[in-house]
Homo-oligomer: 359 residues x 2
């Protein structure tokens, strides 16, 4: 047996490449193992089925193809897909219509990051026909940069916090009326003492000091600070949202039975997937192109037969999220890649420029 398990693409003759590419594309299209005869008749390859069989046998021993059972056609292996996306793939040109659809749909929603992401995954899912997801990675150091208190009536107010460019609010109610003077002082205190601190750095002594400075209105401090800590903690957990989960069912060969359950469970737990994105945060230095994880390449075990395609989203140069799709290994790579690329860039631009439509 040829023991050259993972050969570099250079080893492959032109014809082998052509055949491998044809097999992968046929399999993407049909979802079934593809046999030698199919290739000769449907893809235009200039040799007979017997020759193709020989080549396929070699490709298999090199690890690019697999055979479900003796009398079935061949199926691309993960290595095969990897080779395909790395060097065989034709880059897909989005049609004018598709670009237009991306642009107008994205433009419509000029809002906070969250709702932009929602629109984006909806788009991604409906355009690619796979399950789409967006992640906000877990942050390492979450701090409030600015506090502001808004009075609504004499015993309730709203605390507005600016956390890394995102606005979070929290309602504060008190049983007794609170003077304007007291809330103003509280606001000042918060801005003076708590900005720039992570949840862990907000200590008891600090809180007691604040209570001292609030004098008669010290009763406000504890619930407010507690709320702030909760908000910060909730924020750094990262977040993950989905669209088109029902589309998983379009690929019963992959997501049938128990596998589907594992998949859904993973979507519910979210943590594993978030880890994947966080990991990418590390290697975000190298480049910022579309990333592709095929099968068990780099991922959680439950994603054996799936591919994750995603691209980071940046604001002012720093990573604020990612958007991608998840689907069967035999997904339409070229189209998906082009789509995610555009979409992510679109979102990046959108949040970069903000709402400055003031011309």
């Amino acid at each position: 047996m040829g023991s050259e398990k993972s050969g570099s693409p250079g080893e492959l003759s032109e014809r082998k490449k052509q055949i491998l590419k044809a097999i992968i594309e046929a399999h993407i299209e049909l979802g079934e193992p593809v046999g030698s005869k199919y290739l000769t008749s449907n893809k235009h390859i200039a040799c007979s089925s017997a020759t193709i069989r020989n080549e396929m046998a070699e490709l298999e021993s090199m690890g690019y193809l697999e055979q479900p059972h003796t009398s079935a056609g061949r199926v691309p292996s993960e290595a095969g897909y990897r080779l395909y996306v790395d060097s065989l793939i034709d880059s897909y040109r989005l049609t004018e219509r598709e670009i237009e659809e991306l642009r107008t749909n994205l433009r419509k929603k000029q809002a906070e990051l969250d709702s932009i992401l929602d629109t984006a995954i909806r788009l991604a899912s409906s355009l690619t026909d796979y399950t789409a997801l967006a992640a906000k990675p877990r942050k390492v150091r979450v701090t409030v940069t600015h506090f502001e208190i808004i009075r609504t009536d004499e015993r309730s107010m709203i605390l507005v916090m600016l956390i890394g460019g995102i606005v979070k609010t929290r309602r504060i109610r008190s049983r007794v009326p609170v003077s304007d003077e007291a809330s103003a002082r509280l606001e000042m205190l918060l801005n003076g003492k708590l900005t720039g601190l992570t949840a862990a750095e907000i200590t008891m002594p600090l809180m007691m000091e604040m209570e001292r400075e609030m004098g008669a209105d010290e009763y406000l401090v504890e619930p407010v600070v507690k709320g702030i800590c909760e908000t910060i903690s909730a924020f750094d957990g990262g977040e993950l949202r989905f669209d088109g989960i029902d589309r998983l069912l379009s690929y019963p060969e992959v997501y049938g039975g128990e596998r589907l359950r594992e998949m859904l469970t993973m979507f519910e737990r979210k943590q594993d997937l978030l880890d994947v994105f966080s990991e990418s945060e590390m290697q975000t230095g190298d480049d910022e192109s579309v990333k592709i994880y095929i099968g068990r390449e780099n991922l959680v075990k439950t994603m054996d037969n799936s591919t994750l395609v995603y691209k980071p989203i940046k604001r002012d140069g720093i990573l604020v999220g990612a958007i991608g799709v998840i689907g069967p290994t035999r997904m339409n790579y070229s189209r998906v890649i082009a789509m995610i690329d555009h979409l992510s860039s679109g979102v990046s631009n959108l949040i970069e420029e903000g709402d400055e439509r003031s011309d």
Copy 2:
């Protein structure tokens, strides 16, 4: 054939009730059609299998039971379940442990409605083992009650809107520096002109008037007002969130194959389900107890074999949402009902009392 399709429970002899109840509970427990022999041996019923067969035949002709095929046991019909939950069911006592779990978990999260709901559905799903969902019903008349502008730096600010007790924010950026005076005037204008108006009532003339009053800073008006309209519009759409979708797969008899897909699709589309909740908003006058929709009783077609159990959530007497679970018709009604009842009340109390931990 006895043509009394839907008899009132009064028609039923004590023994018929007892048998029906036993069948339903056995079927809930086992998930399989239950036969006459099983009842005599496992549930203590004081007569022989033959007698039970006779009774079952009658119950079937009355429409309370169904037979999948000739040589199978009986399965409760929707009418049977309905009768069961209406008059046969034993009310379930939550254990101390369960109550404790509800309370502590719910208490932990003292935050805005959204995150309370998230916690609640997570709880509901994990405690009942069914898919849980929470809805914020579509509002008829959404208006902003209060505007507030927060300056972050000289060319960006945050617009805070109070919409029906919920806080929404929106970032505003401008290419040119904005004076404090200008933003203060804008805030005043918004509060003066736009509070109490729905999106539809914000007209062009109104906007032009505002531009006039802003003088040199009129360029701020258009993007801001546009953003406000979007926010209001987005708000009245209602919202629906889930937890434990993976649990659908625990009941393959119901959610296997095509049905599962329909179910997921419905979860994605959300609209149908929201309609159900909105409908309940209408009839919310009659009472505010736990509501139960069994099978095709009242619902969307895709929910034929499912039951929806939910209870509205109120703040200050008005409906702000609902929480419930969705599961197979053969769900453990007594337990689920008790759970949802408690949970919904818990949430209601929590948002009622707010953060007033100032003692």
